[in-house]
């Protein structure tokens, strides 16, 4: 179909690069494809020339028909006409061949660079860009960008074709050319007007499609509820409304889209009839040959199709450039975590010291930690407790070197954290995130992610250490069970067990554990707690604690409020003190206690009455 239907979804966007920067970036990516691009340009030029030559040649032959035609003439004519057709095809084939290679290579390079760039970013980058957006930049935008470069080249070739043709036509007859050109504003005007209407219908149609999707998604997800309450009829009626509305809107859209080509054809028909008549008059008074007359009529068809393409060019061009800018913005985002040295620590005791540390997620935002001091002894299990936003997670993320801090020092075994080689440092660091993350592979592979050199036997041994290994037998194929996309095949509890095994295999000197809050069935919960004990043994551990049993077992509890350590000690002592910890206990941990479990059902309402 015509280009007239393309790029209807273009939107205005903010430029963040000026033209020169952008052209430079684009050129850099296409430079390795330099020869292919030159080749493509040449064949585009040639195929334009030959496409123009064919009707011109035929028109000349028609003029020569008055003479007697010899066999030799016939052969020549046939060879030339056929050759023109074949050459046009060959040039087009070469163009497509090379341009798909060029586009393929450029897109590949862009994707590789973009992927490398995002891997090198610290976590503040991932806070600003949601993962869906990063994915679409790497995959879709890179393609859209490369495509637009090709679009520009094609458009240029079509413009060239028009210019060549018009130039020649002017030489033949100025009057006839002007008649032909008179049609151009009409065609472009119609095309632009159509696009304006089409844009609205496209928007409406997209909106209604989203509505249909939402309705279906909601009712299908909630079908169990609808069935339980036997509300199918009500839902069906609602669906009918949405579906009928969708029909009406899409019908209107279809009418608009189907209308454009017949209307353009009618316009072209007016032009053809005008050329036949006025050209005919010129032939009659001898100022035009029959062949030229034929050429003008044929030329019109060559002429009006590219014109409709010009109407859509600008919005497509914008879409492509916007895509390009989005990819470049991804490449140019700077990593804020900067290492000043590359000390490789072979072994680590696991001592961590915060000295007068200042930290905020963004320079402009409020500081999370101010003049923060803390020493964590080797082998100690430290529990961090506090309300949301008190700085617990920030402390662990700073130790993992996921974020840059503004002032002060973090010392690992006495070395400035900035002076360490990041890869070797992180090899000594185990991290268990709050939501366990599994890759699409077997459970075995997921555990081995912690230490790629581990043998099957080692993996199995480590897995058995977690929760007595009972959980492995409940997996359908043991350690060879597929975890599924993001571990979907496993229950939340099983995923946590896998992650614990992973970190146990890695055997790090420092462990950072952000305890999961998801509730797990009591049997699996028991396994996890047994597994945790195993993991926390004999290494420095910093735990953002959500389980009562974990804080009870911790060597030291640090109580945080607004980035400050306000209390520290063990569970009993802190509880007795009746300070902030006691408040936190009553807010977050009380319901996990044995006393809570033993409250008799009747007492629930007695105590409620008592407090009321």
């Amino acid at each position: 179909m015509g280009f007239i239907l393309d790029g209807l979804e273009a939107e205005e966007y903010d430029r963040s690069y000026n033209d020169r920067q952008l052209v430079k970036r684009i050129a850099a990516y296409f430079r390795p494809e330099c020869w292919r691009m030159v080749g493509v340009s040449v064949v585009i030029l040639l195929s334009s020339v030959f496409s123009t030559l064919l009707p011109i040649y035929i028109s000349r032959v028609i003029d020569d028909l008055d003479r007697n035609i010899t066999d030799a003439d016939l052969t020549t004519i046939t060879i030339i006409v056929t050759a023109l057709g074949i050459l046009a095809w060959v040039f087009n084939a070469i163009r497509q061949w090379y341009s798909s290679e060029a586009v393929g290579n450029v897109v590949l390079r862009l994707r590789e660079d973009a992927f490398d760039a995002i891997l090198a970013r610290d976590l503040s980058f991932y806070d600003t860009y949601p993962s869906g957006k990063i994915v679409s930049r790497v995959t879709s935008d890179s393609q859209a960008f490369a495509d637009v470069v090709m679009l520009v080249m094609n458009l240029l070739s079509q413009l060239l074709l028009i210019v060549l043709l018009i130039g020649y036509l002017f030489l033949v007859s100025v009057e006839m050319t002007l008649i032909t050109l008179a049609l151009a504003p009409l065609i472009i005007g119609t095309a632009l007007a159509f696009r304006k209407i089409a844009r609205d219908t496209v928007t409406q149609s997209r909106r209604i499609l989203a509505e249909v999707s939402t309705h279906v998604q909601e009712t299908v997800s909630g079908i169990g509820v609808a069935k339980t309450f036997r509300q199918e009829n009500a839902i069906y009626d609602e669906f009918q409304d949405v579906n009928k509305q969708s029909y009406r809107i899409n019908l209107r859209r279809g009418y608009v889209f189907n209308g454009i080509f017949p209307i353009l054809n009618i316009l072209a028909g007016i032009g053809t009839a005008a050329l036949v008549y006025f050209g005919g008059l010129n032939v009659r008074d001898g100022s035009l040959t029959a062949g030229d007359w034929y050429l003008f009529i044929q030329g019109l068809a060559l002429f009006w199709f590219p014109l409709t393409g010009i109407a859509s060019f600008w919005s497509q061009f914008q879409l492509g450039l916007a895509a390009g800018e989005r990819v470049f913005a991804l490449l140019d985002a700077e990593s804020k975590v900067v290492q000043t040295g590359n000390i490789k620590l072979d072994t680590m005791r696991g001592e961590i010291r915060f000295e007068g540390l200042y930290f905020g997620y963004k320079e402009s935002e409020e500081q999370v930690l101010e003049d923060f001091w803390l020493t964590i002894r080797p082998g100690e299990t430290l529990a961090l407790v506090g309300h949301t936003g008190s700085g617990k997670t920030s402390i662990t993320k700073l130790i993992a070197r996921f974020y840059e801090f503004q002032q002060g020092k973090i010392l690992i075994d006495g070395h400035d954290i900035r002076s360490l080689d990041l890869d070797t440092f992180r090899a000594h660091l185990g991290i268990v995130t709050q939501t366990p993350f599994l890759f699409d592979g077997t459970v075995m592979e997921n555990i081995r992610y912690g230490k790629s050199s581990a043998t099957d036997v080692e993996v199995e041994a480590v897995a058995r250490q977690v929760g007595g290994g009972d959980w492995i037998d409940s997996l359908p194929e043991g350690l060879q069970s597929p975890a599924g996309e993001r571990g979907n095949n496993l229950s939340m509890g099983q995923r946590q067990l896998v992650v614990l095994a992973r970190v146990l295999l890695q055997n790090p000197s420092i462990l950072i554990l952000d305890e999961a809050t998801a509730s797990i069935d009591p049997l699996t919960e028991t396994l996890i707690q047994e597994g945790l004990e195993e993991v926390l043994k004999d290494r420095t551990s910093i735990v953002v604690a959500h389980r009562l049993s974990t804080i009870k077992n911790a060597d030291r509890i640090i109580v945080l409020r607004e980035g400050e350590i306000i209390e520290e000690g063990n569970h009993e002592a802190l509880l007795k003190k009746g300070g902030h910890y006691a408040e936190l206990y009553n807010t977050y941990f009380r319901h996990q206690s044995l006393e809570y479990m033993n409250i008799h059902p009747e007492d629930w309402f007695k105590s409620a009455r008592a407090t009321a």
Partner: protein, 597 residues
């Protein structure tokens, strides 16, 4: 025909569901007047469109033979009239087609949706929501596109070939030679081309999906990647995927570059010209006719180009039809059982040797127990142990494979489905709320409930206070454009829903977690209140709920490994003891190990 359904619509139009093709045809045939009238517009349109070059040839003859200006004017007006008539009839035809296409899309979606409402829960559990969404939106859309412009393109191709060639034959029958051969070779080469291109396209499609999924995974797991210093591994994986995609992208470009039909067309133009010239030299063709013939061969360019799309559109349409029909025809296991047992439920539940399997996968084995009206039963076991399935058998979300389940002494399969389900309330693990107001959500099963009744139910579910904390109170919209509720809040709204419908049996899949003790207090109270006076089946992670249940069932891999009260199980079940061993509590001595498995 569908054998069973939980939902049917009166006077539904009967479509032929024997095969995808017949199904699509029967949808189109419903509007046969529309479908049958369109070809006439197309034939007329092409007669006019191909007639124009013939008339141009006539005009040339007029010029060469020195005809009058008036004759020329008439010829020009004739051309104009023909091209305008072409435009108008083409437009009319296209609009008819479009109308038909949109109607088919609407009807197909409605048919699919109706069948979805009628499917059992077994079906919906097996089907991913995303999959169903794709079928009700993309696939249904594909049917639309298959008709307009798919069938439209086919008309264009057929008539775009047949009519101009007929006209050429009309000028001189010998002229059939070159276009005739062209059409034959054209058909062969298109078939070959499509056969080569399609596998590459679908491979490329898959590779794009793999690349995307891999990328998504690396990004979502970035903390794990960085923490395990596996950047190099991830980079290698992505590069390999990106390379594969690049290769098939280039391969597709190469195949497309070699699109033979356009070459054949170029050759056909040359040979037709040669043929016309030979005929001219023999004196059997006028110059005007040569111009006409060259004009007609030009008309063939568009169908040569467009036929490619029509084929794939048709193929895609059929494939989509197959996918939609697959869902429509999927057997559903339950029916409404309108004539079944109807009475007020008392709440006694008995499982007798119940077995259940999804296909070959056994989920429950030999489960037997009985519950008195008003009792609370807690079901304990690991995820995947069959707890949820067990409760789903009670309200006939699924039917047992073997054995039977009795409610008040009557087999659940003999109950009227509406009577049964309306007296059993089920609160799922993921409480589903519709994107409506909170009041509407609470009153979902009882649309006629008054505001007072709704509020009363919310109070009993300990939900009133948090609902009133929203600025719009009960009129607050839930979901996408409204307020997001926490798991605990959703659960209490579902409990309010249950209080309002006042069921005799309550099934509560309670796996929400409250991070703070105050919320936990509220939930505890709400659940306690809900248990009062009704039989309750409770799947819970809350030890306090388990501890105080009348009866506890311990499930392990689909088998009932222990049952009894808290005190009994502490004495008899290893599984159960292990849970409490971590608390600083005095455990009674273990007795009767044989029973504990």
């Amino acid at each position: 025909m569908q054998s069973k359904s939980e939902f049917t619509v009166q006077n539904a139009y009967p479509y032929n569901q024997a095969s995808p093709l017949r199904w699509i045809v029967s949808h189109i045939w419903r509007y046969k007047a529309l479908f049958l009238s369109t070809p006439f517009f197309y034939i007329f349109s092409h007669l006019m469109y191909a007639g124009a070059p013939v008339l141009i040839g006539r005009a040339a003859d007029i010029l060469i033979d020195g005809g009058t200006q008036k004759a020329l004017l008439w010829a020009s007006l004739g051309i104009l009239a023909m091209l305008v008539a072409d435009g108008i009839s083409n437009l009319t035809g296209a609009l008819c087609m479009e109308n038909l296409a949109q109607k088919v899309e609407r009807d197909a979606r409605e048919e699919l949706y109706t069948s979805l409402l009628g499917k059992s829960q077994v079906f919906h559990d097996r089907q991913r929501v995303g999959d169903i969404m794709a079928r009700t939106t993309d696939d249904v859309r594909q049917l639309n596109v298959m008709i307009s412009p798919g069938i439209f393109f086919i008309y264009e191709t057929v008539m775009g070939f047949v009519i101009p060639i007929t006209f050429m034959v009309g000028i001189k029958w010998q002229l059939l030679l070159v276009p005739g051969i062209f059409v034959l070779t054209y058909i062969l080469s298109v078939r070959e081309y499509v056969g080569r291109l399609n596998p590459v396209i679908s491979r490329q499609h898959d590779e794009f999906g793999t690349m995307n999924a891999g990328l998504e995974e690396s990004i979502s797991g970035i903390v794990t990647v960085k923490a395990s210093t596996q950047e190099a591994f991830e980079r290698g994986k992505f590069r390999a995927n990106a390379h594969k995609f690049r290769n098939s992208y280039v391969q597709q470009g190469r195949i497309e570059a070699g699109y033979l039909p356009m070459l054949l067309y170029g050759v056909a133009v040359g040979l037709t010209f040669l043929h016309a010239l030979i005929l001219y030299r023999q004196g059997s063709l006028e110059i005007g006719s040569i111009i006409a013939v060259m004009g007609l061969i030009n008309v063939l360019r568009w169908p040569t180009f467009v036929s490619l799309f029509s084929l794939s559109l048709l193929q895609n349409g059929l494939a989509s039809g197959r996918r939609i029909l697959e869902i429509i025809k999927a057997e559903t296991d339950l029916d409404e059982n309108a004539g079944g047992h109807t009475s007020e439920v008392q709440g006694a539940i008995v499982f007798e040797d119940v077995n259940f399997a999804f296909g070959d996968n056994t989920v429950l084995q030999n489960i037997s127990f009985s519950i008195q009206p008003g009792e609370t039963v807690a079901i304990v076991g690991q995820t995947g142990g069959g707890k949820t399935t067990l409760t789903q058998l009670v309200n006939r979300t699924y039917d047992v494979t073997n054995g039977r389940i009795l409610i008040d002494g009557v087999d659940v399969r003999d109950w009227n489905l509406t009577a049964l389900r309306s007296q059993i309330s089920k609160i799922e693990q993921d409480v589903f709320l519709f994107s409506r107001t909170i009041a509407e959500n609470i009153a979902f099963g009882n649309p006629e409930a008054t505001q007072e009744q709704i509020e009363q139910a919310a109070r009993e579910a300990q939900a009133h206070d948090f609902i009133m904390s929203f600025t719009e109170g009960y009129q607050t919209k839930v979901g996408e454009r409204g307020v997001t509720l926490s798991g605990g809040q959703r659960q209490r709204i579902a409990l309010a829903r249950a209080f309002l419908s006042n069921p005799r049996i309550l099934i509560l899949d309670d796996s929400t977690s409250a991070i703070d003790s105050a919320t936990e207090d509220e939930i505890q109270k709400a659940i306690r209140r809900a248990q009062e006076g009704r039989t309750t089946l409770l799947i819970t992670h809350r030890l306090s709920q388990i501890r105080w249940a009348n009866h506890i069932l311990v499930l392990d891999k689909g088998q009932l490994v222990a049952s009894g009260s808290h005190e009994e199980l502490l004495r008899t079940s290893m599984h159960y003891r292990r849970i409490f061993a971590r608390y600083d509590m005095a455990l009674p001595p273990l007795e009767n190990l044989a029973q504990a498995v």
